[in-house]
């Protein structure tokens, strides 16, 4: 009895020793030298493996950073300037600073403002329905609403708003990896500078149809009236194919264009509400959509650790919420 116990213990132990020796020899023999810098740089990178930099993952990007002479062209959108600065220190190479950007959705054509004229049957992905035809509505430039962008977002920064059928971008979570930009067959999602406090002014429409046709297919379409172009003192707005575009490099966020736009297709985000009452009178249904988004966006933020800034935002939203209620009363009486 004791013999068999002894034997089995001995046998197992010797097996273990043999295996350890084999492992050691093999690991020595097949050791591959890797520049230790790569691992160190990899350590600095965010580790999201989002491919926003163009490399398939953070490790390969680190490899590229270490082995490329001039890394001024390379940039990690997720880590941003902070990470790139650290990388530059580590490697002793120069990097270019880039303004932080964030994805914005250039379409406001939700179910309530852009009526569906046909019904699509088939696989619900934007890529396939875009291949077959121009979409369920009459606007062939706008969002298809099947959520390819949401599916590719690795950071949980997007979700489909069920009420409007449009994707919503949570700018706090957006890392500007541009995965959604590449996934969208309509090129609706644009990367725009984040600016201070995430203030943005941009045209929320891509409709190149003539005014009447655009307006018929979608109540908040850009009709190409050029009013914004005329009012802009910085020449930041250009008109092309009946469509306005605001150049973020020239825009000073004065918001004059927002006020003159007859269809409210220019979106402003995160500005404190100004002269609430006057605005309310001017705003028909269209503006509501944007504000709804704001409310929801912050509702998401609320759940997270409350920084003082966020608190401010919450307060601000409380005001906006009031607007919405007032406004909906207004529209009701109008109707």
């Amino acid at each position: 009895m004791t013999d068999s116990v002894l034997y089995s213990v001995l046998l197992l132990a010797s097996l273990g020793v043999v295996a350890a020796i084999v492992l050691y020899v093999v690991s020595k023999k097949f050791y591959v030298y890797e520049n230790p810098l790569i691992a160190e740089v990899d350590e600095l990178l965010p580790g999201a493996n989002c491919a926003g930099c163009g490399s398939p993952g953070c490790k390969s990007f680190a490899d590229k950073l270490v082995n490329t002479e001039d890394i001024s062209e390379l940039f990690c959108p997720v880590g941003g300037n902070d990470v790139m600065k650290l990388v530059a220190e580590k490697l002793g190479k120069a990097v270019t600073e880039k303004d932080p950007t964030v994805a914005v959705l250039r379409c406001q054509g939700g179910c309530d403002v852009r009526p569906k004229t046909t019904e699509y049957q088939g696989p619900r992905t934007c890529a396939i329905s875009a291949m077959i035809y121009s979409g369920e509505t009459d606007c062939q430039y706008g969002c298809l609403g099947d959520g390819d962008c949401v599916a590719v977002c690795n950071f949980g920064a997007m979700y489909m708003d069920e009420a409007t059928g449009l994707p919503v971008i949570d700018t706090d979570k957006c890392t500007s990896c541009e995965a959604c930009v590449k996934a969208c067959p309509r090129d609706i999602i644009e990367m725009r500078p984040r600016n201070k406090r995430d203030l943005k002014v941009f045209v929320g429409c891509l409709n190149e149809d003539k005014g009447g046709i655009a307006k018929k297919s979608c109540a908040v379409a850009c009709i190409g009236c050029s009013k914004c172009e005329d009012v802009c003192q910085k020449d930041a707005i250009s008109m092309n194919n009946n469509l306005a575009y605001i150049d973020p490099a020239l825009c000073t966020l004065c918001r004059k264009c927002v006020d003159v736009c007859p269809t409210h297709s220019i979106i402003e985000t995160n500005f404190p509400p100004k002269k609430p009452k006057k605005v309310v009178e001017k705003k028909p249904v269209a503006k509501k959509v944007v504000e709804k988004k704001e409310v929801e966006k912050v509702a998401v933020v609320k759940g997270e650790a409350a920084k003082p800034e966020v608190k401010k935002e919450v307060e601000k939203v409380a005001v906006v919420k009031e607007d919405v209620t007032v406004e909906s009363k207004n529209t009701k009486t109008d109707a």
Binding site: T117, T118, E119, Y120, Q121, G122, I132, Y133
Partner: protein
């Protein structure tokens, strides 16, 4: 127009064949075999089948609804079919709790844990059957003797299947002549009509052939799998029989008895677990036949169809990878007159 125009990609017409219809066609094809077992086993055959069907449906519903939280698909007929096929592979008079365990294994483990209809690698009914066979060998080989126009509710006398008798007899050194001279050994006619021992569904070769022909006519199955299985079995057993007719049973006995016909027409042809090309089907069928014959002649079990099918099920993905249809226009030389 009241509703908006529908846009979809071509084609805009569709054949009226649906998965559901396919499943119910198989169910219809199994009716003759069921009637035969009702006739010979009486009420106990009905109980086994009913318990298997109800528990399969119930397990499918409960697991999908509460465990997987996916839409339930008990209406598509596949769980019903699994239940029937499982019952057909069990001896009449099996304890009810065992049938329920078999159903749980078939639906829960063999089907749903792989992802549900279409994703299972092994035929669910057979997995259930094999599980029961290896767990409860005694009960699973207690074959009630077939009695003409059986109306008894009590447990019938237990006998053995023809294949069991042969295996046992040969083990004790008997010759085929003496085994078939035994009073209990059924005649070819009885085997053909269904008056021999065996599982509920494998009784009557005639009824199974009727069902098989129905499936062939309705184009639910093609001839490739069943005919290849039966032909290969006949050839293999035939060779051994010609060499030594005293130690090996004739091909006719091998085909008419046991699960050969049930397996060839109903179990091996299960779409999900069989290859998708005709070439692949033939390879698959030859494999089943070879394994079955080897088990029957040299293995410990008298019957090997279930094992043959399950083992070959595992090779189906491989067969699908290596036996592809011939691509149009590949490897040809342009011939110009």
């Amino acid at each position: 127009m009241s509703q908006p125009i529908i846009i979809s990609a071509s084609p805009h017409v569709h054949s009226d064949r649906t998965s559901k219809k396919v499943m119910y066609d198989v169910v219809i094809a199994l009716i003759p075999a069921f009637l035969v077992s009702l006739y010979v086993f009486g009420f106990s055959a009905f109980i086994v089948t009913a318990v298997a069907v109800v528990s399969c449906l119930l397990f499918e519903y409960v697991i999908q609804k509460y465990l997987m939280k996916t839409p339930t698909t008990i209406g598509d007929g596949s769980a019903l079919l699994t239940g029937i096929l499982l019952a057909f592979n069990l001896p009449a008079g099996l304890p009810i709790w065992m049938i329920i365990v078999g159903s749980l294994v078939a639906i829960g483990i063999a089907k749903l844990s792989f992802g549900g209809l279409g994703f299972n690698i092994f035929n669910p009914a057979l997995v259930g059957r094999v599980f029961l066979l290896v767990s409860f060998p005694v009960q699973m080989t207690m074959w009630p003797t077939a009695v003409e126009n059986n109306t008894t509710l009590a447990d019938a006398v237990t006998g053995a299947t023809p294949l069991g008798m042969i295996k046992e007899g040969l083990m004790f050194g008997d010759t085929m002549t003496s085994i078939s001279a035994n009073v209990d050994f059924p005649s070819y006619t009885n085997m053909f009509l269904g008056l021999s021992g065996g599982s509920i569904g494998e009784m009557s070769a005639l009824a199974l052939l009727l069902g098989g022909i129905y499936l062939l006519v309705r184009k639910v199955i093609t001839w490739h799998i069943p005919i290849t299985i039966l032909a290969t079995m006949a050839v293999m057993t035939g060779i051994f029989w010609v060499i030594d007719p005293e130690s090996y049973a004739s091909p006719l006995i091998h085909i008419l008895s046991g699960g050969a016909l049930l397996g060839a027409f109903f179990m091996a042809t299960d779409m999900v677990t069989s290859p998708m090309t005709k070439k692949g089907m033939i390879i698959f069928a030859i494999g089943i036949a070879v394994i079955t014959v080897v088990i029957r002649l040299f293995g410990a079990y008298p019957e090997g169809v279930s094992f043959g099918i399950i083992i070959m099920n595992a090779f189906v993905p491989l067969i699908n990878t290596y036996f592809k249809p011939r691509r149009f226009g590949s490897k040809i030389k342009a011939k110009i007159v």
